[in-house]
């Protein structure tokens, strides 16, 4: 089985993340290889997943009639289901393969990311979740534009949403193509087309109901598979984590230093900036925020965040165990490595398929080729679920925000809006396939980092300030959001990851890979300054409208309820 992974040497790409650009060192793609032989158990299990989800899509298509059904599953999802679906949306292949790979190569440092990805959730809970549910209908722009000028704020939010979706999607598509090529032996182009067509099908035909169930199934598979792996690893050490850590320090080339902060945090500014992006980026991801409209009220929204953070926290503990398990199980077994002529190998760099394959190799080490097939299928399903969520968020921004409330000024009928949303899903899917193909051999690792940076610097400040500060005016939010967006994009373009590694310039004009430490405060400050200086009649009316908004956001009086299902 491992021989199938062998000739191929690609490093990391996207799976490193959410990690990578956020990260301090973005690995580059190291070149291609020939097509791999077909991996039969993996393909059969994946086909079972696809058939099950397509069946659900067909069932969902029969029920999705109104706009509320399409965008928000009629508000009829329970807290537990939504918690699983949020976890499904959030636990990407990047988290699973990327973080376990990071633990595999540098130990403790992987935990810094795990913690960062989780701490965004309490923030979402305390400051955003229930207000979002009480004020909004389908998109977070509903909330940001509640008392502000719809045209300006919805356009800004839609741009923020589409920017996040675009960069996130490109990274996922390229990663999906590479991973599927490697695991299933399918040609890159076919792999990208397959992912694109499936996600279009889920979203365009099944809307939010199908997307939600795809997330739930995927979350269960991923949590189940990861639990089994972590269990097998711990059982090997008689359930003593200490024995596991000890064994890991004995075989890892870096020895005991893997239990302490390593070179990932050589630079304090980068560490803090990464922290800001991780913590506040989560609260600005449109496909995540959209999930709060699928439940019936604020109390259920809270419960779903609680379940989500429980599942996600548990999952990150598992990936940590899996990473250390990979160190102890794989590093002494040459079968997992590309050997030099004299039989020697580098315990990190020579892992077949790159370090991102650590969890995949471990699955075969603890569960044989059948379990390897299962984990491969789960990785594919994971990508599919995440891109479907992104596509739905993008399509909603186009139809609900840009079309229905900006171009048609709120006088369009529901059927036209939903129809347009389906068309938008198809178009976004086709564009994603095209971009996935175009970017095949580009270093796209920085793009997920960019998506998080934009979410934290544009979407989050606008949303938070319009919700919690009565002084926020349209002009303030618009200028502040644009400042955050522009700074995030400009600083990433000028950063080492893009300016030097992608464009090939000598030195980076902005020294850090992550802009959030600078762009997030800049956005907040600009919203505050411009709003304070804003003395127009409209600004006064907007400030005067705050108490009414506050009452509804805190009590849910007048909030859109769930349709009977």
């Amino acid at each position: 089985m491992m021989a199938r992974l062998s000739t191929f040497s690609f490093a990391a790409v996207l799976f490193v993340l959410e990690l990578s650009n956020l990260a301090f060192a973005a690995p580059a793609i190291e070149g291609g290889g020939e097509q791999q032989p077909l991996n039969l158990p993996a393909i059969l299990m994946f086909l079972a997943f696809v058939l099950a989800t397509l069946g659900i899509t067909k069932w969902a298509a029969g029920r999705a009639r109104t706009a509320s059904d399409f965008y928000a599953a009629g508000g009829g999802i329970t807290g537990f289901q939504n918690g699983l679906a949020i976890a499904g949306d959030y636990m990407s292949a990047a988290s699973f393969l990327g973080i376990s790979a990071l633990v595999f190569s540098s130990g403790f440092d992987g935990l810094i990311y795990s913690v960062g990805f989780l701490v965004g959730w309490p923030i979402v809970m305390f400051l955003i979740a229930e207000q979002l549910r009480n004020l909004g209908k389908f998109t977070f722009a509903d909330v940001a534009a509640y008392r502000l000028d719809a045209t300006a704020i919805r356009t800004l939010s839609a741009v923020g949403t589409l920017a996040v979706v675009a960069f996130y999607l490109i990274a996922q598509m390229v990663g999906a193509g590479k991973l599927i090529e490697l695991l299933f032996g399918l040609d890159y182009l076919y792999a990208v087309v397959l992912v694109g067509v499936l996600m279009i099908t889920y979203v365009a035909f099944g809307g939010m109901v199908a997307t939600t169930w795809v997330q739930i199934i995927k979350a269960c598979l991923l949590l189940g598979g990861a639990t089994f792996m972590a269990f097998m690893v711990l059982r090997h050490f008689a359930f003593s984590p200490d024995a596991m850590f000890k064994a890991a320090t004995e075989v890892h080339p870096a020895g005991e230093s893997i239990l302490a902060p390593g070179k990932l945090v050589a630079d304090p500014i980068s560490a803090l900036s990464l922290g800001v992006a991780l913590m506040f980026g989560t609260a600005g991801l449109p496909h995540i925020l959209m999930r709060f409209f699928t439940v019936k009220d604020a109390a259920t929204a809270r419960t779903s965040v609680l379940y989500a953070s429980g599942f996600i926290g548990y999952f990150y503990v598992l990936t940590f165990v899996i990473g250390f398990g990979a160190i102890t199980f794989l590093m002494q077994d040459p079968a997992h490595y590309k050997l030099a002529a004299d039989g020697s190998y580098d315990k990190i760099k020579d892992l077949l398929g790159g370090t991102n394959m650590a969890a995949v190799h471990l699955s075969s080490a603890v569960g044989g080729s059948l379990f390897l097939g299962f984990i491969s299928a789960v990785a594919f399903a994971t990508i599919l679920a995440v891109v479907a969520g992104l596509t739905l968020a993008g399509a909603s921004a186009v139809s609900h925000d840009l079309y229905a409330n900006v171009f048609a000024r709120g006088v369009s009928d529901e059927q036209t809006e939903v129809g347009l949303s389906k068309v938008a899903a198809v178009v976004i899917g086709l564009i994603a396939i095209m971009l996935g193909y175009v970017f095949e051999n580009q270093n796209v690792a920085f793009m997920v980092g960019l998506a998080f940076a934009i979410a934290a610097s544009c979407n989050f400040p606008v949303l938070l300030m319009s919700l919690h500060w009565k002084g926020t005016t349209t002009t303030g939010a618009l200028v502040g959001g644009l400042v955050g967006l522009t700074m995030a994009v400009a600083m990433v373009v000028l950063s080492p990851a893009v300016w030097v590694k992608t464009f090939g310039f000598e030195a980076a004009l902005f020294p850090y890979d992550n802009p959030a430490l600078f762009s997030v405060p800049a956005a907040f400050l600009t919203i505050w300054i411009v709003s304070t200086l804003d003395r127009g009649l409209r600004a006064d009316a907007e400030r005067a409208a705050y108490p009414a908004q506050l009452v509804r956001s805190e009590t849910g009086l007048g909030a859109s309820g769930s349709s009977a299902h």
Binding site: V115, P122, F245, K246, T249, G275, M279, R302, E554, L557
Partner: protein
């Protein structure tokens, strides 16, 4: 209402402090996290990281417990009056 508002801002601030405290130690004093816990080899850093994960889930839980009971009863009372 303002009681819930204060409570959520307090917890949000607490989360920010705990997390950036963790990041600050990682960034400025990584050596302190390398020390082993007790007799074992597990480092203090791993323990602290796991505690921050548990903390995040725990504060979320505490908030839901309070918000979905005491605060929501107050909200329900307000909604009654407005009907």
């Amino acid at each position: 209402m303002s009681r819930r508002g204060r409570f959520s801002w307090f917890l949000a601030l607490l989360t920010v402090i705990v997390y950036f405290g963790f990041i600050a130690i990682v960034a400025f004093a990584p050596a302190t996290l390398a020390a082993p816990v007790g007799d074992g080899v597990m480092s203090l850093g791993i323990l602290v990281g796991l505690v921050v994960i548990l903390f995040s889930v725990a504060v979320t839980w505490i908030y839901v417990l309070r918000a979905n009971t005491a605060f929501d009863r107050a909200v329900a009372a307000i909604r009654e009056r407005n009907q």
